[in-house]
């Protein structure tokens, strides 16, 4: 089962939930692969403390121009809808950070002056956090394209033996999130009972609907304002699967990088129970 953990915005405790879920399932003897797809800010590793064994570069193509062959006709720059090329008399410049690597300029150049170079935009790292297999993507600082890294990470899933894949998605509802979440079996939406939390949860719910995924909600820092969330869950007929009550103990464990289910075994049981109910309700159950 591929279980995506997401939230409409950052700071709701999405990674905390993903990490504790993974540890709880592994603690019950399940084989778990944890995928941190928040490539701009991978931080699940801070809690899981994996030993990384492999680092694989991810590249995208960009145009390399042979100035000898180029006659400055400008066709490449006209073609490029991202304006990653500029041509003037005696001058052709490329702007790698704008290039999406579509390869179109190579095709339109009448002089065959453009070759495809490769540019590293980040890495995929693989390792283990005890019995949990751990993969993460990391985008180089300043690089605008997160999606190719997420795609590489997810391509690797085809050959995976683990029964449960937990995908820690980036925050928000942007392209990289959709890439991380699509073709999952279930979406776990993490939110908190505030007006902002509710607003962002709604966005996340719409996205998940759009992708046709079954989903459930985890309320983090739950308390007296839970109605804010339960109202819209009722409206949209999405179950609330867990409420993590606000407590100083959990907050301080989080602040020192200790996943609370490691030291509070009753939480392992609660996460295990949540997983069982997801499995029962999910058409993917195997």
């Amino acid at each position: 089962m591929k279980l995506a953990v997401l939230s409409g915005k950052g700071g709701t405790g999405k990674t905390t939930v993903a990490v504790n879920l993974a540890l709880s399932l592994a603690g019950k003897g399940e084989k778990v692969l944890f995928l941190d797809t928040d490539v701009e800010e991978p931080n699940a590793g801070l809690y899981l403390k994996p030993v990384l064994e492999e680092s694989l570069p991810v590249t995208i193509p960009y145009p390399e121009i042979d100035q000898e062959k180029c006659d400055y006709c400008g066709k490449c720059a006209n073609f490029c809808q991202f304006n990653a090329l500029a041509v003037a008399e005696g001058l052709v410049l490329t702007f790698q950070e704008l290039c999406h690597g579509c390869g179109g300029c190579v095709l339109v150049c009448p002089k065959e002056a453009i070759q495809e170079g490769k540019r590293e935009i980040g890495v995929i790292e693989k390792g283990w956090a005890d019995s949990i297999k751990f993969w993460q993507g990391r985008l180089n600082i300043g690089e605008p394209f997160a999606v190719p890294i997420t795609r590489h990470l997810k391509n690797g899933l085809a050959d995976v033996q683990e029964d449960i894949v937990i995908i820690d998605a980036p925050a928000g509802v942007s392209c990289p999130v959709i890439e991380a979440v699509r073709d999952s079996d279930f979406a776990l939406l993490v939110t908190e009972p505030t007006p902002f939390g509710r607003h962002d949860l709604e966005l996340a719910m719409k996205m998940v609907d759009h992708l046709g995924l079954p989903s459930g909600v985890v309320i983090n820092r739950a308390g007296k304002n839970n109605d804010l969330i339960s109202e819209i869950c009722q409206e949209r007929n999405v179950p609330i699967l867990m409420e993590i009550e606000f407590s100083k103990l959990l907050a301080s464990l989080g602040s020192i990088g200790v996943p609370f289910s490691r030291v509070l075994p009753q939480w392992q049981d609660r996460f295990w129970g949540m997983y069982q109910s997801i499995k029962e309700g999910c058409p993917c159950a195997s």
Binding site: F82, N83, A84, A86, E89, P144
Partner: protein, 120 residues
């Protein structure tokens, strides 16, 4: 001498548009006769990379001097490599920009400004 100016409108009464990449027009003005031509800035409607598109179009106009408010790093690179000298002026009427040009009060812009919206 012909100079290019990023402009908000199509005549000498129009204001200088401080955003090189996103200004709607370039006015190419003969500083002696005050005759001018108007060119559209294709960067104005570009999604990303507006500055690059604008700079490329500007080079094609053949003018080697530009007066604007600021140019982002990408536009700046294209302009400078294309041999254009960039001057900075405040957001005043084009006719006043020409006066400033004559009085030698325009400062040459030697560093790019902040990145525009179009950096992606």
């Amino acid at each position: 001498m012909k100079i290019g100016i990023s402009a908000a409108g199509k005549d000498l009464d129009a204001l200088l548009d401080p955003r090189f990449g996103r200004c709607p027009y370039f006015l190419i003005v003969d500083t002696e006769t005050k005759e001018f031509e108007v060119a559209d800035n294709p960067g104005n409607t570009a999604g990303g990379g507006a500055g690059i598109k604008a700079a490329q179009a500007f080079l094609q106009l053949g003018t080697k001097e530009l007066v604007t408010g600021q140019a982002g790093p990408n536009a700046f690179e294209v302009l400078v490599k294309g041999g254009v000298k960039i001057y900075q002026a405040p957001q005043v009427k084009i006719s006043e920009v020409i006066d400033l040009y004559h009085s030698g009060d325009l400062k040459e812009l030697t560093t790019p400004g902040g990145r525009g919206r179009g950096s992606r």
